[in-house]
């Protein structure tokens, strides 16, 4: 008798499980068909570092706080002297070194760098990772 009871209980448990999976089969899938539909990323999502501009000029004053605070040394700042003042010449961001911790944007006192939601960062040349370059 015990065996029969056990068998029936076992069968019932298996059928209950089947019910769950089959009923899930008729519900709407959770997947987002990625390349066709894209979820809008929240504004604070950290995907690619970008330089902020004000009236066509970079907000960066080349204080190098971000460069120093970056744990992975993913930021390189080159400066030059114009009229006796240190001015930003070239701001390079190395995405392959970056670990997207967000410390640089947090530390920046001038709101000169921020994150954008462009996670599709593949580019053909390394030059395109340079965020800012002064033409002179």
């Amino acid at each position: 008798m015990n065996i029969i009871k056990k068998t029936i209980n076992g069968l019932v448990s298996l059928i209950e499980g089947l019910k769950v999976t089959i009923s899930n089969g008729f519900q709407k899938p959770f997947t987002l068909m990625y390349p066709k539909k894209k979820e809008e990323l929240p504004k604070i999502s950290r995907q690619c570092l970008q330089m902020n501009y004000k009236e066509g000029e970079s907000k960066c004053v080349a204080c190098k706080i971000c460069e120093k605070s970056c744990p992975q040394h993913a930021i390189k700042i080159e400066t030059e002297k114009i009229n006796g003042k240190e001015v930003l010449k070239k701001y390079t961001f190395y995405p392959e070194k970056c670990m997207y911790c967000g410390i640089c944007t947090e530390k920046c006192p001038f709101d000169a760098i921020s994150w954008n939601q462009n996670f599709d960062m593949a580019s053909k040349t390394k030059d395109q990772t340079i965020n800012y370059k002064r033409n002179s």
């Binding site: 298996l14 209950e16 499980g17 769950v20 959770f30 929240p42 410390i103 947090e106 994150w115």
Partner: protein
């Protein structure tokens, strides 16, 4: 009897990262087992010695990438203890809410991976589906899906966003319904029971001798939860139970973790009620930040057990030594003894039920 050696891993479907077993096998029975670890050794302890205190936090994310906030926690607490920094109450609540959410996410992933080890694929997808919802909440809150770098010395990085409470509550009610389904699909399933009950029995004695902590210890009948026993943050103000089972087999470990999801949900609901609506979310330390010399050990309850940080400071802006005590290291050690006499299938089941991830073991 002639035995032969079977090399399982480092590339193997169910080694949860990169682990290598060298098993001496007689037929299907394991006679001797050696674990070869270190494939994911990144020497995070050494890296932390060379970074300033605030720079070290993102590296602890990578200690246990399934529960980054729980791994941030001990380091932040240790620095605050040595530097005597007060944390605003709101920040404490945010920390607890996020770390409990992270615990749920980690357990959900484990739920899936364990079932995958036992050969059923669908629960894995269900676990991932629920975890994805948590990750979306975290993305809105912290700006990243997996490695958040959210806790800061003296608080958290960002304030809660506007609809955070609604999002979390909606997720929790959804998860309540889903857990009932999981119960039907997995917990009561006779094949699942046959595969896990009595498998990988970790006796209380053995668990204590190996220094096993966390859910695996609680499944062996020891009621030890650091959130209760050495309360940190605001856990002493919160009401929750510590699920404990006596048998110490894979099934008990499974039940403990599923119950822990429920307890975490309880904690989050309490926190959402008690959290002060106004107030600072961070007590910013000075820019040039130095920690007074000294040393301290802070244990916390991570999803996998006791995650502790031993911090030695020499008064400069960089730590002198950081030791990360990971739960997985001790737990994996006991697998070498547990596996003897088991079948290969049971080895995988036992290993899965112990919830070990290798980046935490190798650091």
């Amino acid at each position: 009897m002639k035995t032969y050696t079977l090399n399982i891993g480092p590339q193997h479907p169910s080694t949860h990262g990169v682990l290598r077993f060298v098993a001496e096998i007689n037929g299907e029975e394991i006679q001797n087992l050696k674990c070869d670890i270190g494939f994911l050794h990144r020497s995070i302890e050494k890296i932390l010695e060379n970074k300033e205190y605030y720079q070290g936090i993102p590296y602890t994310d990578r200690v246990d990438y399934l529960a980054p906030i729980n791994s941030n926690f001990p380091l932040v607490l240790a620095i605050e203890k040595l530097a005597n920094i007060e944390v605003p109450e709101k920040a404490e609540y945010i920390r607890v809410i996020t770390s409990e959410l992270n615990r749920i996410a980690s357990h959900l992933l484990w739920f899936g991976a364990f079932n995958l080890d036992l050969g059923s694929f669908t629960p894995f997808m269900y676990g991932m589906r629920e975890r994805e919802k948590i990750l979306s909440i975290f993305e809105k809150l912290t700006g990243a899906r997996m490695l958040y770098n959210y806790l800061r010395i003296g608080g958290v990085a960002k304030d809660l966003y506007e609809k955070f409470e609604d999002d979390v509550l909606r997720f929790l009610t959804d998860l309540d319904n889903k857990l009932v389904q999981y119960n039907k699909l997995v917990t009561k399933n006779i094949i699942f029971k046959a595969r896990t009950q009595g498998v990988g029995k970790l006796s209380k004695d053995l668990a204590l001798k190996y220094g096993v902590t966390g859910p695996s210890l609680r499944a062996s009948g020891v009621n030890y939860d650091i959130r209760k026993k050495i309360p940190y943050s605001i856990y002493s103000k919160l009401e929750f139970d510590v699920p404990t089972y006596q048998k110490g087999d894979a099934y008990s470990r499974f039940r403990v973790r599923i119950n822990e999801i429920n307890e975490s949900m309880k904690i989050i609901r309490q926190c959402l009620i008690q959290i002060p609506k106004k107030g600072d979310f961070i007590n910013k330390p000075p820019v040039v930040f130095k920690v007074s010399p000294g040393e301290t050990y802070i244990p916390t309850e991570a999803p996998r057990g006791e995650l502790g940080i031993y911090l030695v400071s020499d008064g400069t802006e960089k730590p002198y030594r950081v030791k990360i005590r990971s739960a997985g290291f001790n737990t994996l050690n006991c697998l070498e003894e547990l596996a003897i006499g088991q079948k290969i299938a049971d080895l995988i089941a036992t290993f899965g039920s112990l919830d070990i991830i290798l980046p935490e073991v190798d650091r």
